[in-house]
Structures are given as C-alpha cells and as structure tokens.
C-alpha cells in the first residue's frame, strides 16, 4: 500500500513537470507529444492496464 502511494506520488511529480514543460515549450508538436505522454503516464499509474 505504501509502495503504491509512493509510486503514485512520483508519477504526480513527473506529471507536474510535464505540465510545466508543455506550458513553457515553444514547439507545438513537442507540446502535443508531451501532453499525450502525460495522459498515458498518469493512466498507467492510476488505472494500470
């Protein structure tokens, strides 16, 4: 249980980093790409498929 929480916390930190990256990035394709990675990453961590 604790491990799972820790894992999700790390995912959330990385997700926050990705959000900031999309926000700052000047290339639109990088923005879209990072947004998709963000979704996959968060879904994988919280739904685990």
């Amino acid at each position: 249980m604790m491990l799972q929480l820790a894992y999700r916390l790390i995912v959330l930190c990385f997700a926050a980093f990705l959000v900031r990256y999309v926000w700052e990035e000047k290339n639109v394709w990088n923005q879209v790409g990072a947004a998709v990675v963000l979704v996959l990453f968060v879904l994988r961590a919280f739904l685990w498929k």
Partner: protein, 409 residues
C-alpha cells in the same frame, strides 16, 4: 521535416494540448472504469438469500474482493453443496455455469451455495499482453447480454507488488505472481493479502454454511494435460469414480485426476484438507486462454472455434478431441452442468444422508442444442422467465454437437 519544427507553440497551444490530453484521459477513464462494475446477476425466484463474502469474513467489506454468495435452501433436510465459478475470471464457462445455476436453481433437498465470481477483483481487468477482449455477448431471449472476460489473477491495482517468490498459506513456494492466483491461496489467511483473504472468506463459507461437498468450476487450454477432467480430493475419490462412469454412459468423456498431495494452495486440495469436505474441480477446454490460439476475439470466447487449434489437433498435439465444431461455450457449460449433476447423483449413492436434490435446471443436452443464453434471464429485467426460451439458439452455435468420442486423437 524542417517545416514542421517551425510551428510555433504558445500558451494557447499549450493550453489546447493539455485540454486535449485531459479529454482523452477522461474518456479512457470512463471506459476503463466500466470494467469495474460487476455484470448484473438475476437470481431465480427460489433464491433463499443473497449474502456477500464479507458476511462470512468481515475484513472483506468494501474491498474489491467482496463478492456475491447465493444461497438456495430446499424444504427437505439434506447435505450442502458449494459451487464456485470465476476463481479464474478468464475461464468463462466456470462463471457461466455458476450463473446458469443461480438464475435457474430450485433446491428441493439440502442447501446449495453458489459463488459465481469467486475472485471478483480478477473480473475487473483483462489478461495483460494478450489482446484479450474486454467483453463477450450471449444471446438471451429478447436480446444480448454482455459479460466481462476477466483475467486469471487478481487485479494488480488491488494487490501490488508481487513478491519475487510466494509462499502459499499452505506452505509451498511458487512464482511471485501466483500471490494473485486465488487457486494457489487456499486455505487463505484472515489478515493476509486480498487474494488470501478471499480464499479465507471461501473457507469461512464452507465452515459457516456447513458445506459437505465443494465443486470448483474451471477451464484450461486445450494443450494442457489436465483437461476434460474431474480432479478429486481423496475424500471424494469414490464419488468422482461413480460420477465419471455415469458421464461416460451419457457420452461425455471425462478423465479422473487425483489431487496431488504435494501441490498446495489449490481448491481441490485445501478445501478437503482444511475445510474437511469432499472437494472436486472440473476442467473444460477453452481455446481463448490457450497458447496456440489465433486472434482472441469475443466470438472465440463464445464459439471456441480457432483455426490454429484445429491444425494442432490434426497434428495430434491436443489432449482432447477437437474438430471444426470447436469448443463452444454452451457445450463447455453443459459439460460442467452434466458433471455437477452426475456428482450429486453419486453423492446420493455414496452418502444418502448428505444428498442434495434440485430442479429447475435444463438438461445438459438442451444447453448444447439451444445455447446457454436460452436459459439465462433477459438482461433488462429480473422477473421470472415466461417460457423455456424455446428456439433461441445462442451464438454459441446450436445444432448437433459432437457425438461421443473416445479418448484422445
């Protein structure tokens, strides 16, 4: 390619990308969470009471391991039978045969307890890395009912991480992922992992309901040696032998497998050793869970017709007869039903005081011919069925099923 790089992003495109991502996320989440809802079960009007596993082991309350327990009591005193389906949620015929009981059963003598989704958590996800279909459909009178195809193991969202090696509650060391295999976790641990607690809950059902005979319904891949089989605990050896003879007379080929004493954690071993009951496990062949299958589709779950298994059968690589008729779900459910009834008949012969008698169930041949869906309730309402569901041949492929066939090819 260079031109693409020059598309300038700004705060507006950033916000749009994040919004797009969030929308994809929300859509996937709602589709995904749909798998967490258990498919409805419409019990027969003769149901005595519906309980939950947590009523027997309270620690399971509000956990994904809690599951429905259907109890049918007859007017006459007699023995008591436990039937479990869905110990492995990817073995559709086990769940479906248990569902067929719950939706039709009328117990005349003794008591019958049915748990159709023994590992409820395993129904909430799909077999990973297999391209498994999430659902399959069964034609029922007046429509199609859709069912979840689950996985063999407990959902890792509910029990994580796996140990590198797992010591089963019965003391055997097995691969780590087996910690999520309900059929390695018997007799369970009251304060163990989710899967061990579910196993403990089932042992509590055995103790609290005074069960005398337990039948665990499974399926296995057609290339697996223990198939079309009755696996029996030594306490049930005589019954299993009598039942097998009866089934042979009916034209249903079953082999007898003694439950190995050194294989721990399995229902047919621990229900007998720890629950003190006569324990049996039934296997039917299911191509969709095998290694040789082609594309896993909802149709394959229902028809069991796969060209690669046909080829393997031609090469003599299977442990069962397999032809162009495939191994339809209805035929597999019918085999389970016939075997359970044969076991009850032999119980009456061996231990008349512990006998259980029921009515309301279709004859196994009718399940083969009309499809299992003809004997399930229409998905929309609970009310009692108005007729026998005549004429509705499930997509399970009606028509004449295989004639009795001798041993392996």
């Amino acid at each position: 390619m260079k031109g693409i790089g020059h598309w300038r992003g700004n705060r507006l495109t950033a916000a749009a990308s994040l919004l797009l991502g969030a929308m994809i996320g929300l859509l996937s989440v709602s589709a995904f969470r749909g798998m967490w809802e258990p498919d409805p079960v419409f019990p027969s009007p003769w149901l005595t009471r519906k309980a939950m596993l947590a009523d027997y082991h309270p620690a399971l309350k509000n956990t994904p391991g809690d599951t429905e327990v259907f109890v049918f009591e007859g007017g006459e005193p007699g023995g008591s039978l436990l039937v479990t389906g869905g110990v492995h949620a990817n073995e559709a015929a086990g769940f479906m045969a248990a569902l067929l009981l719950v939706e039709n059963l009328k117990v005349e003598k003794g008591k019958v307890v049915v748990i159709p989704r023994a590992n409820a958590s395993a129904f909430t996800h799909s077999e990973p890395q297999e391209g498994s279909p999430q659902r399959y459909g069964i034609e029922v009178p007046g429509g199609v009912r859709s069912f979840r195809l689950g996985a063999r193991l407990t959902n890792p969202v509910h029990q994580w991480p796996d140990p590198s090696l797992f010591r089963t509650p019965a003391g055997q060391i097995v691969a780590g992922a087996e910690a999520r295999n309900l059929n390695r976790c018997f007799p369970g641990r009251p304060r163990g992992s989710l899967t061990e607690q579910v196993a403990w809950g089932i042992l509590e059902v055995i103790r609290q309901e005074g069960i005398g005979l337990g039948i665990d319904l499974h399926e296995s891949s057609p290339e697996y040696p223990v198939i079309n089989a009755i696996v029996f605990h030594e306490k049930a050896a005589e019954m299993a032998a009598v039942a097998q003879m009866d089934l042979q007379f009916e034209g249903l080929d079953f082999r007898l497998e003694a439950s190995p004493r050194n294989l721990r954690g399995l229902s047919h071993r621990e229900w007998g050793d720890h629950g003190g009951i006569r324990a049996l496990l039934l296997e039917t062949p299911n191509p969709v869970q095998g290694r040789l299958k082609g594309r896993p589709t909802p149709e394959l779950v229902v028809t069991g017709r796969d060209p690669f298994y046909l080829k393997a059968a031609g090469l003599g690589r299977l442990f069962i007869p397999y032809d162009t008729a495939g191994a339809p779900l209805s035929w597999r459910v019918a085999r389970h039903l016939a075997a359970v009834e044969a076991i009850l008949a032999s119980l009456e012969e061996v231990e008349p005081d512990l006998a259980v008698a029921w009515s309301g169930l279709p004859e196994w041949r009718a399940v083969v011919e009309q499809g299992v869906g003809a004997f399930l309730r229409p998905g929309t309402g609970g009310g009692p069925r108005t007729d026998g569901g005549g004429g509705v041949a499930g997509q399970a492929g009606g028509g004449a099923r295989r004639p009795p066939q001798p041993g392996r090819p």
